[in-house]
């Protein structure tokens, strides 16, 4: 049962990264921000990755609750895990960028704040997962928390946006039509990087999901053989 898609997907992702990074370093510096603008090419795509991942978590959790197939619980957890990783990177690159441009590492900007809150929500998700041993119950409770938590992200964004907004106008307007406000080579670099990160998401999701599947299969096999041996009356129950 080898995953035939994983390797080509990984190679294409790598290729995209190579092209994207080439554009990112060869594109002209920004009129106002100079070379600082290059952080954008990793910051924006990793934020994008996080939100793709959380959307994935939401969808897989919902499918899990409806279908109760273990696979979707594994994918939801995998998606959250890589999402959390990228959220940390987003906040890190964001504060690195914020320090020279805004003069501080942190501002109460809606996107920043929403992203930090999302990080807390999904860290809570993992804490809860860690506290429940039974896979069925763990999957259910985790899915429920993921669904309620993901629903909160847009509401958080709206509320913080109203509360205070000093972020520069989004380069790509996320809400409303696409409005490009950067020079062409920069857009090119950003688009390729976005594609690369999107591919990376699917690659990592497959990999992590597969790993979880292997771990689970092994555990299942142990449990199953214990039960079967027991049914035949062959094995002593472990104390």
């Amino acid at each position: 049962m080898r995953d035939r898609l994983a390797r080509p997907l990984g190679l294409i992702t790598l290729l995209c990264f190579a092209v994207g990074l080439y554009f990112a370093f060869s594109s002209p510096p920004d009129v106002n921000q100079g070379n600082l603008i290059r952080i954008l090419y990793v910051h924006v795509p990793s934020a994008w990755f996080s939100y793709v991942a959380y959307t994935g978590t939401f969808v897989y959790s919902l499918i899990y609750l409806l279908s109760r197939k273990r696979k979707y619980d594994r994918l939801a957890a995998a998606s959250t895990e890589i999402g959390v990783l990228m959220t940390v990177l987003t906040l890190y690159t964001g504060s690195l960028w914020g320090r020279p441009t805004w003069g501080v590492y942190w501002v109460w900007d809606p996107r920043l704040t929403t992203t930090a809150l999302a990080l807390l929500i999904y860290l809570g998700y993992f804490v809860v997962r860690g506290l429940i041993d039974d896979p069925g119950r763990r999957g259910r409770v985790a899915a429920v928390i993921a669904i309620i938590g993901t629903l909160d992200i847009p509401v958080n964004y709206m509320s913080v946006y109203w509360w205070r907004s000093i972020h520069q106008t989004p380069t790509f307007q996320l809400i409303g039509g696409v409005r490009v406000s950067a020079a062409a080579p920069m857009v090119e670099a950003l688009l390729v990087m976005l594609l690369a990160y999107t591919l990376l998401y699917f690659y990592l999701l497959r990999l992590r999901g597969r790993l979880a599947e292997l771990v689970e299969t092994r555990e299942e096999r142990e449990l199953e053989s214990e039960l079967q041996g027991d049914l035949k009356g062959g094995m002593r129950e472990p104390q």
Binding site: D133, D134, L223, E226, L227, D230, L231, E237
Partner: protein, 214 residues
């Protein structure tokens, strides 16, 4: 077509975390029979009762209660009442309020019919007292009253004789055998064979999550 059995389990297995608590249970309870379930602590008796009550979903196997699949939890819960050893009386409600609450959630009202039973259990004088102030024996009687008043046809009773004085035991036995005569199906778990046998026709033994020959 004959009426479906009160409960039917086939190959039911269930695990908590990484250990199996039920390891393949086959069981059939006919309508109106009463069965005792013995076994040491931790053998899975309580878990089995919870599966039948629609509280825990089995990981493997099939089960039906009065013809309703165990997955149809609402229908199952409409036909079963579980008296757990963690009995669930609210200490700051009176005995009467506790009874009324449970019956209301079972969709039952009617207090007139209860009078005879309550006096037989010697509860009338205590109905207005908070459960907090009642002795363990009296609390058990409140639970017995609830068991007798709830109109579920299948009653699952977990350790009805644990920690009881002689009088209350006597009373428990009486109530249970009366319920049996009235046509209810009973499954009683206990680790004291002689007591449970006094009210049941058949007995089963559990060990390590399996039913073994009694």
């Amino acid at each position: 077509m004959s009426a479906p059995p009160a409960a039917q389990l086939a190959g039911v297995a269930l695990r908590f975390g990484r250990s199996w608590v039920l390891r393949g249970i086959d069981l059939e309870l006919r309508v109106g029979e009463s069965v005792a379930l013995f076994g040491p602590n931790g053998s899975g008796k309580s878990t089995l009762l919870r599966v039948l009550a629609g509280g825990l979903a089995p990981a493997k196997g099939e089960g039906r209660v009065f013809g309703f699949d165990l997955r149809d939890k609402l229908s199952v819960r409409q036909h079963v009442h579980l008296l757990g050893h963690d009995a669930g009386l609210y200490p700051d409600l009176t005995a009467a309020e506790n009874l009324r609450f449970s019956l209301a959630l079972h969709g039952q009202q009617g207090e007139a019919a209860q009078a005879a039973l309550l006096s037989e259990l010697g509860l009338e004088a205590h109905l207005g007292k908070r459960v907090r102030q009642l002795s363990a024996g009296l609390r058990k009687r409140v639970l017995l009253a609830r068991l007798a008043l709830v109109n579920s046809p299948l009653l699952l009773i977990d350790e009805p004789f644990a920690n009881l004085d002689a009088d209350s035991r006597e009373l428990s036995l009486e109530v249970l055998s009366r319920l049996q005569r009235s046509g209810k199906t009973l499954l009683i778990s206990s680790h004291e064979p002689e007591l449970a046998e006094a009210v049941t026709g058949r007995s089963l033994r559990m060990e390590g999550g399996r039913l073994v020959a009694a």
